[in-house]
Symmetry: none
Subunit: 358 residues, 2 copies
DNA sequence: GAATCATTTGAATCTTTAC
DNA sequence: GGTAAAGATTCAAATGATT
């Protein structure tokens, strides 16, 4: 079976997900309904307050229904996730704690909880509580043992070369981005594209398949299309589906795929230190220098090992030994003499070789 | 029975709470074990060791054991709470979702979840996830029908006459405030007094009784005494108790809490260039132009870096490289094409984002 | 003594590949 | 499956050392 890529499946998300092949999706992003147990359900039809044991039973039954629903869709999502896939859920204090506990119970492995700080939240008009100015997202891998995609360098770049933190400050979806029909908002809880931009940039690769079980008006699909990812949406409401289709059709994908690729040291090809010798960038007998004052010295041997008066081994091993450190990256630790008083890390030689590979 | 006010009860918190009269306490503040379940040792890039939390009190065999423990102490706490009392719990993603779900199951009524944004969190040294830069507190009333204390105006005053939001930006407990014994921290997870200050100012009145079931080194007691509230602590570890007693003895209550309200002024928020992309003000693949004749050209990548035929990096770095200059302010150097022959500096896009923050 | 630079540290579920 | 080796990786703030 081929996946219904870049389409919206009309119907209940559990049935829809169950119709897809197992281990076929790279990412699930879910914005499920918030807990329905609020307000009126605490009142009887005659408006008297529910009290005592009845109260607890009622409430338990409400939470139980929400829990059962949550468990069901999270189970279905887990089946279709690839083993190295991941899942995001967004919610508020009404539902996110139940969602989080069930995620853990099902074996998902939490990677972060992310706080979306709203720059422009709705104030608390009655002054009864703190302004509810954030929502919470949970990001988790399929299990504690599985791998997952995290474009660390992209996130760092997006944040002016500082590690991206677990709190994200972004505005609500308003203005031209907010879908309207007949002057009213099409969907009550449309999420901003900036939020999905960061989610997809962080945890997917170009070409990945992203499934959204509660597609709504298609923010996930719109951003996925823009960023060169494939999407699958599940949605029951025909009006939302129509709005999402129209919206996504207008999205222009980024034309140049090269601007989408994450650049990470981890994904670059490995270069053995021996290659540096084979290409004559260094020669057997050359000296390498380590330490802040370049006072540690080692001699390069023809087989690519280093030797000092007492140590012998790889650039990493000898680097660790001369520093008496548990570990060492020899590429950045060792320097060669490039001029009278100029030392350069041997990593530049590796870069030279890597450049030739392109 | 009279309450053991302003004392530390030595022993298990559940037994201690069960020994107190029902409906006798105005507030419970709890910093329970987080159930971190850390793996092996973790080294910083400089190879120094991170002191993790591996205390016996944070070890649980599985989620079921942690849940049973959580349910037990939350039940005991609920019995001793006055009907118009409230409870706070702090935690991280390791435990807070389980705590939150159990709170709801027991009939507590959530008022807010509060995010403590750390100004100086520990980074993610291995680049595997987002920097875990926050913890979560849940504030709840005893039930949906009960009243609770919220000093709305105090909170507004604390926040420059703006409603206090659900995200609080506060530094970790370090420096002189951090209790040390023999050069090492007395308690691995001592909370900052600023956090408790805000909690107690928000949700208690002078003279109220505040119980902390996991008293540790007594931050709750210290701030309670300072603010003219009464405290009751429960703690098992004699060393923590001794440190807390000594600490609290030194606290001088303040006559007028308003003198403590000095709150750091917010500085102009830093806007990473990546935000411009996330918000769609520029798009991946767009061209930027530098130089007086706009003859330097760079392409915007999806992660917020720029790329030319030979250079790659942040707006500042690439700006410097194309000019062969030591440094460059990319915000003013780079321009985007706003019309047929019109170029505008990308700084106007930053201004646009800043305006939304106010 | 002031200024500058180097070191330390904080609730952390913290690697990947080859053999 | 396990073990060993390669090699990638940190931010803010306080404290201590040096000039």
């Amino acid at each position: 079976m081929t996946l219904p890529l870049n389409t919206i499946l009309s119907g209940d998300c559990i049935a829809m997900m169950d119709s897809l092949p197992a281990k076929s999706v790279d990412l699930v992003f879910a914005d499920p309904p918030y807990n329905l147990q609020l307000g009126g359900e605490l009142l009887r039809p005659n408006n008297s307050k529910v009290e005592g044991v009845d109260e607890e039973w009622d409430r338990f039954s409400d939470f139980a229904a929400y829990d059962a629903f949550t468990r069901a869709w999270l189970k279905s999502a887990r089946r279709i996730l690839k083993d190295d896939g991941a899942l995001w859920v967004i919610g508020s204090y009404h539902n996110i704690f139940r969602v989080g506990a069930i995620l853990q119970d099902l074996g998902y492995w939490m990677l972060n909880d992310i706080v979306w700080r709203k720059t422009n939240p709705m104030p608390n008009f009655k002054g009864t509580r703190f302004t509810n100015a954030h929502e919470t997202m949970i990001w988790c891998a399929k299990s504690a043992e599985t791998r997952y995609t995290f474009n660390y360098d992209s996130m760092k770049a997006l944040n002016d070369d500082l590690q991206m933190r677990s709190d994200w400050t972004l505005p609500l979806c308003t203005g031209g981005e907010r879908l309207k029909s007949g002057g009213k908002k099409t969907h009550p809880t449309q999420k901003p594209e900036s939020l999905l931009y960061r989610v997809l940039m962080a945890s997917t690769k170009p070409g990945d398949v992203v499934l959204d079980p509660f597609f709504g008006t298609g923010t996930t699909g719109a951003v996925a299309k823009k960023l060169g990812r494939n999407f699958i949406g599940c949605e029951r409401d025909p009006e939302y589906i129509a709005a999402a289709k129209e919206r996504i059709a207008k999205v222009i994908p980024v034309a140049d795929p090269s601007v989408l690729m994450a650049i990470s040291k981890r994904s670059e090809p490995r270069i053995p230190f021996g290659s540096v010798l084979e290409r004559g960038l260094l020669n057997p007998g050359d000296l390498l220098f380590g330490g802040t004052r370049h006072d540690k010295v080692a001699k390069v041997r023809a087989d690519g090992t280093l030797i000092t008066d007492i140590h012998r081994g790889s650039i990493h091993k000898v680097g660790a030994l001369v520093q008496n450190a548990p570990a060492c990256n020899g590429w950045t630790y060792w320097h060669f003499q490039a001029g009278h008083d100029e030392f350069m890390p041997i990593d530049v030689l590796r870069q030279k070789i890597r450049a030739e590979l392109h």
